[in-house]
Amino acid sequence: MGRHWKEILIYLCAAILLIIRVDFWWWGKKIYPFIFGWITIPMLYQFLIWVAGFALVSYICISIWKDPDEV
């Protein structure tokens, strides 16, 4: 796959992440912290959204973004 398509795929993944970060199914529901006594499931879900976003940034930096003097 060419760089152009890889970039488009990354922007598409970013758009999907922006949509699914809204966990409206848990929104407003009574949820108690249960992980280590202070982390709730929606907190963990939001953190995983960040992890996925960070993976996209890392992929761009490591595989796509080339310095003119690196090639």
């Binding site: 990354i10 970060r21 202070w38 996209l56 930096c61 310095d67």
Partner: protein, 496 residues
């Protein structure tokens, strides 16, 4: 004055003196205007990261976020962290990489200059710079307001609000006046280190004082369950703000120009990699501290919750530590304020003065104009801050929305060969009209469906841009061909 207040003031004074010393050391006798405004585009990774991150992290993070999470709970960190913290760095690549290449070739510094040069239109350059200044000036006040409130809160009202605001204004003015972009970036390196380390310290001091993470969060679950359940923030707001803030940051005038100051694209690449980690960390720390603050200090109404962090520090931290943590808050807000003052100087010089006098480059004595502008706008920010407008987060949201509407024109300039200047004019007019008219109620708020006004302003701008780009004639000039030829490098693919 008691001994505790004296200790706090002593430490904050030491920090302010440190900033001024760095400002003096960064001074270059006979520096060119280009060096004053862009530090000769020679920053390496750590200074570049500090300059960009410092420009982005402001009073919003260390004052606005704890203040908001006091009312709405932990979701405040996700409000910023699960969109902005990774999407803005990703867009630094989208915008920053190509703009850096253009900046190197055409000496581009500002967003309006980029738009003006892309379409060879001084009208577009003036027009877009007008909107950038319109949103930048109220945002400028935020740092000064934050300084006043922090000193007032930490000293339990012993030092009046206006004295803290004045101290921040004078010190920032001093090091920016002397060192310009270089001075600000050097000071930002100190400030970024202080507010990241200080933020971690604030978090642990508050958590420890309230009986630990578990006890504090369980107490919130029992007494204020709405802070865990997210009933005080709608999901529509959460969704739309995530998009707005992420798209706005790369086109903040103060962030955009700093993206172009790296010595090589690889310096920006390293910055982009570290950004999401530092961004998430600082927002998590501040959001939990603000939410837990509701336990010992209940009952703060509206914007008064912006003072929760200084109030907590005054209550729980030893005086010397409260001073260190006060310096962390000062660092965050001053690092943004200095970048905004420089950005205003850049816009006036590059987008107003140079086009008016019909020259292409900066002159040696433009440094003097830049320095006068720094003092003038610092004074305006101070006077504006004395009015003490609404909650910091409200000012920011409005400015963010206005900047976010400039995102699409910038992307079109860099990627869309087919797009003409009339499409850009149209997009800016429609999006900025909606951005101002919707909050004022000129356009009925019923069309918002719970989203923030800027979201619909961006949608309106996008539709206008797309339609006008196809119904207006394609403009392919020699300059636009040369413009896009810059991207035919290993680091950028062909335009559409």
């Amino acid at each position: 004055m008691n001994i505790q207040t004296l200790q706090i003031l002593l430490i904050i004074s030491l920090y302010l003196v440190g900033c001024m010393i760095l400002g003096v050391r960064s001074y270059r006798k006979g520096a060119s205007a280009s060096d004053y405004l862009m530090a000769s585009r020679e920053f390496k990774f750590f200074i570049l990261f500090s300059a960009v991150f410092g420009a982005n992290i402001s009073a919003v993070t260390l004052i606005g976020v704890p203040g908001t999470s006091y009312h709405v709970g932990w979701i405040t960190w996700a409000y910023f962290g699960t969109a902005w913290a990774w999407l803005s760095p990703l867009l630094f690549y989208t915008i920053g990489n190509r703009s850096w290449l253009l900046g190197k070739k055409y000496d581009i510094v500002t967003i309006s200059e980029l738009l003006g040069k892309r379409w060879e239109s001084k009208g577009l350059q003036y027009f877009s710079s007008l909107f950038l200044l319109f949103y930048l000036i109220p945002y400028l006040m935020v740092g000064v307001i934050g300084g006043g409130r922090t000193i007032y809160g930490l000293t339990n009202g012993f030092i009046p609000y206006w004295v803290g605001a004045l101290a921040v204004t004078i010190v920032v003015c001093f090091y920016v006046f002397l060192g310009g972009m270089r001075g600000a970036a050097w000071v930002n390196a100190l400030q970024t280190s202080i507010f990241l380390i200080g933020g971690i310290a604030i978090f642990f001091v508050i958590a420890y004082s309230l009986g630990g993470f578990n006890f504090a969060t369980q107490t919130i679950a029992d007494k204020y369950p709405e802070l865990l359940n997210r009933t005080n923030m709608s999901w529509q707001r959460f969704f739309s703000y995530g998009i707005i803030v992420s798209l706005a940051v790369p086109v903040f005038p103060n962030v955009f120009s700093r993206l172009l100051t790296g010595k090589k694209p690889s310096e920006l690449k390293k910055t982009v990699l570290l950004y999401p980690i530092a961004g998430l960390l600082i927002f998590i720390l501040m959001a939990y501290a603000g939410m837990w603050g509701r336990i010992p200090i209940p009952g703060l109404k509206g914007a008064s919750s912006d003072g929760i962090l200084p109030l907590l520090l005054a209550k729980y931290a030893p005086a010397w530590m409260a001073g260190v943590l006060g310096a962390a808050i000062f660092s965050a807000l001053m690092s943004t304020l200095d970048s905004q003052l420089i950005a205003i100087g850049q816009i006036f010089l590059k987008d107003v003065i140079i086009p008016i006098r019909k020259s292409d480059t900066l002159r040696q004595n433009d440094v003097i104009i830049g320095r006068v502008l720094v003092i003038l706008f610092a004074l305006i920010a101070f006077i504006g801050a004395l009015i003490q407008p609404k909650s910091i987060i409200n000012i920011i949201e409005w400015s963010f929305g206005g900047f976010a509407c400039m995102f699409l024109p910038v992307v079109a300039a860099l990627y869309w060969k087919r797009c003409g200047k009339f499409a850009i004019f149209g997009s800016i007019i429609v999006s900025q009209f909606l951005s101002i008219a919707l909050p004022l109620g000129i356009v009925p708020k019923s069309i918002l469906f719970g989203m923030l006004p800027a979201f619909w302003a961006m949608v309106g701008g996008f539709i206008t841009l797309f339609v006008l780009a196809y119904i207006t004639p394609k403009q392919e000039t020699e300059l636009s061909k040369n413009f896009f030829s810059v991207f035919v490098t290993p680091s950028a693919y062909k335009p559409l």
